[in-house]
Subunit: 200 residues, 2 copies
């Protein structure tokens, strides 16, 4: 039986994280050099010094190498949303929760921009990204539903879903515009403008 079910992640899990991060670094370098589609999983495995099979054990899909962190980012947004005051209206709470992301602070701005450009320029990635946003929806809807005062989880009550989905859509539009501007424009301003256009 596991003695430390909770608490420190255990050594095995920790080494796994390290190895995964290392592989991710290698892969991202290749992606940015040769492009996403032009880089095969085999090349990544060779470069990282592991077998193709093991690579697939660290990243279930090629897209996950780029977008894997979005899962935990989604959880972070959810936590941030749930930490907002209970009376705060949906849009403000969502804006604040999303703001907690800003940009991935682990990377340099140029790298973030390069990644974004790859993301919006590669169909398969673009699509995988949209799917991740769909997952975010699931995470955020319950809290918004609560804020709307809907006790029943009535599936026909599309309000919370629509609000969350459109918020994420606005975010996506803003990030795309930011990417196209070469990172010059202010992301928050772009987002606010998008939301204003929708709600005005």
């Amino acid at each position: 039986m596991n003695i430390r079910d909770e608490g420190s992640p255990g050594l095995r899990e920790r080494t796994r994280r390290v190895v995964q991060a290392e592989i991710g670094e290698v892969a991202m370098r290749l992606f940015l050099e040769r492009g996403f589609d032009a880089t095969t999983m085999e090349q990544i495995a060779n470069e990282a010094g592991i077998s193709r099979r093991s690579l697939f054990r660290y990243f279930g899909t090629k897209e996950d190498i780029v977008l894997g962190n979005l899962v935990e980012a989604g959880l972070a947004v959810r936590d941030a949303l749930e930490a907002r005051p209970e009376g705060e209206p949906p849009w403000e709470a969502l804006r604040a929760a999303i703001e907690s992301l800003a940009l991935d602070p682990g990377y340099s701005p140029e790298r973030n921009l390069a990644i974004s450009k790859m993301l919006y320029g590669t169909p398969s990635l673009r699509v995988a990204h949209l799917e991740k946003q769909l997952r975010w929806q699931e995470l955020l809807v319950p809290n918004i539903q609560m804020r709307l005062g809907a006790e029943t989880d009535d599936a026909s009550d599309t309000r919370a879903r629509a609000i969350v989905a459109c918020t994420l859509t606005c975010l996506d539009v803003a990030v795309e515009a930011w990417t196209l501007s070469g990172g010059e424009e202010d992301l928050e301003r772009l987002y606010d403008r998008a939301v204003a256009a929708v709600r005005g």
Copy 2:
């Protein structure tokens, strides 16, 4: 040189359409019977009496068999949008344009529902569907931009993009709710409620 560049589609093109439709019928039957992922392109080809290679010439991807018609549907929506009075505000024009779709009248309601259920229950299809909606965006944005009075096609002007994207998002939310309700709920009501929640 082609004598009939414009005008009647030509015999070859016509037979192609017919064959394509026939293949589509066969494939949809298999999809609905055994599920999308559980049906291989080879099975479809065999059932349709053509080679796998030819099947790929009729449908570039497996998803296109289900979603191929969405391309022309998008064009129809764009045309409907451009046919709306010039002064009509964006949301109303979009609602009217989308309404022109209603539901694919070529199929029985049960079939439409079954397709929708498959669509929302199969990740790869769901994602491909989102990509098609992305294409729709591109088609609809220019007109909305015009309605907003933005002469410059400034990429940093996210307003039109945001409005179109959120409209389609609301549509998607509504259709999903409609699907989950087993087709009982009224789609237009669901859509209006979603939009009201967002813009309220």
